[in-house]
Amino acid sequence: METGTFKVKSGLAQMLKGGVIMDVVTPEHAKIAQEAGACAVMALERVPADIRAAGGVARMADPTIIKAIMEAVSIPVMAKCRIGHFVEAQVLEALGVDFIDESEVLTPADESHHIWKHDFKVPFVCGCRDLGEALRRIAEGAAMIRTKGEAGTGNIVEAVRHMRAVQDGIRKLQGMPVDELTTEAKNMGAPLEVALEIHKTGKLPVVNFAAGGIATPADAALMMQLGADGVFVGSGVFKSSDPASRAKAIVKATTHYKDPAVIAEVSKALGTAMPGLDIKTIPPEELLATRGW
């Protein structure tokens, strides 16, 4: 028996496809998410909207909260560590979480280096804004990729930008003559080996979810139609007026993303979505997506 192989790590991400991963801060939230049909939950101390409001240094959640959430549900439980904080990652692995998100939502611990994720048995998901960033994370061992979007804003615009940038990058690499790949890989800051693989297959070697700003069922379906394999919903569920109904609606819209009649039906009478933020009103130093490289 071989544990911690890349097949087993990226395989869990494949099992999450077509699903919704929801941020939760209490065992009660986790149960609501599971009941709504979430395929996994992200155990946190605060959702991104509250992290953004609080300011200061945001760190890995208290293990007590993570453990309580792990005991409350049978679906996989993820948790976030700071970018480059490999000891927080070691702690999360020791706690037995099913997936680690090396996340820009927390305050980075290292401004130059991300975690070398091959050293871990637990799989990692990492954020990206374009293909180059996605490929750097994959080279470091990420078993799953997500767009960064702009977490805690309820504004889908950045997630759309990042998803389109990733897809555009893939098309570009695929259509390019092989002798131009070295320069293109250098320009996008991506390792040549992974760029070559994209050139051959025309797709990412790992699952790619959308994250950062999804607040409505239509937002989730939009990201799916743009090519996401699934969605993360952070503040969008539990910062809305009726979390249980909204959670269920987003799950259904993600499954039936090609069916506007279903999306219309599930979007009815959901109450108020989370308050939204115009990205242009956020001071540049408070943008989360620019953390990491």
């Binding site: 071989e2 087993v8 077509g18 049909g37 099913d98």
Partner: protein
């Protein structure tokens, strides 16, 4: 041959690609009307809780149960095994419940305990098979009319009952088409499903 793949959540495209490689026509199934005219159904790996809830919400549980009772071939992997089982202790959801087995979910532990292992499946040509087990279930008990195709640490991990086939691991995460080909043979064969 037209094979539906339950496409509510999970490793749907992986199964579709493998079936296409074996020249079967594949249809993603999200609503009951998409079951019409199918020769068989695959229930992929994914989160069994999520798949079960979406099946119930969209009225897929009952029609699939009826089909299974009429000797319709179904192949379930991982979450699919859980959904086909008649008994799953501590489960707060509905299953299709058509195979006479008791299944334990997450039987090997959490994700850090997920593993790959070499299996022996004598029913397949060159019996050796690489099993990918991810938060995998296991068959705790199988009634006498259930054929055990493969065991790991003395517990069944692949079983067959009539035209129902299920395994705890993920052939859809490998390049190995033999188990899918075995399912196609079940579809074409004239198995008697009456007990």
């Amino acid at each position: 041959m037209k094979i539906g793949v339950l496409a509510l959540q999970g490793a749907v495209t992986e199964h579709m690609q493998m079936l296409s490689a074996l020249d079967a026509e594949t249809i993603p199934v999200r609503i009951p009307s998409e079951l019409n005219g199918l020769d068989a159904l695959v229930i992929p790996g994914g989160e069994s809780t999520t798949i079960s809830k979406l099946m119930s919400d969209y009225g897929l549980m009952e029609p699939i149960r009826k089909l299974a009772e009429q000797c319709f071939p179904i192949f379930g992997t991982c979450a699919g095994l859980v959904l086909l089982a008649k008994r799953v202790p501590n489960l707060e959801m509905e299953t299709i419940g058509v195979m006479d087995i008791e299944v334990k979910r997450n039987a090997f532990g959490r994700q850090v305990d997920s593993f790959e292992a070499n299996l022996e499946i004598p029913a397949l040509h060159n019996g050796n098979f690489r099993g990918v087990f991810i938060r995998a279930p296991v068959v705790e008990k199988a009634e006498s009319d259930v054929e055990v195709l493969c065991k790991l640490s003395d517990k069944p991990v692949a079983v067959r009952q009539g035209k129902l086939l299920a395994c705890a691991f993920h052939p859809e995460l490998t390049e190995d088409l033999r188990l899918h080909r075995y399912f196609l043979d079940i579809i074409k064969g004239d198995t008697d499903c009456k007990k």
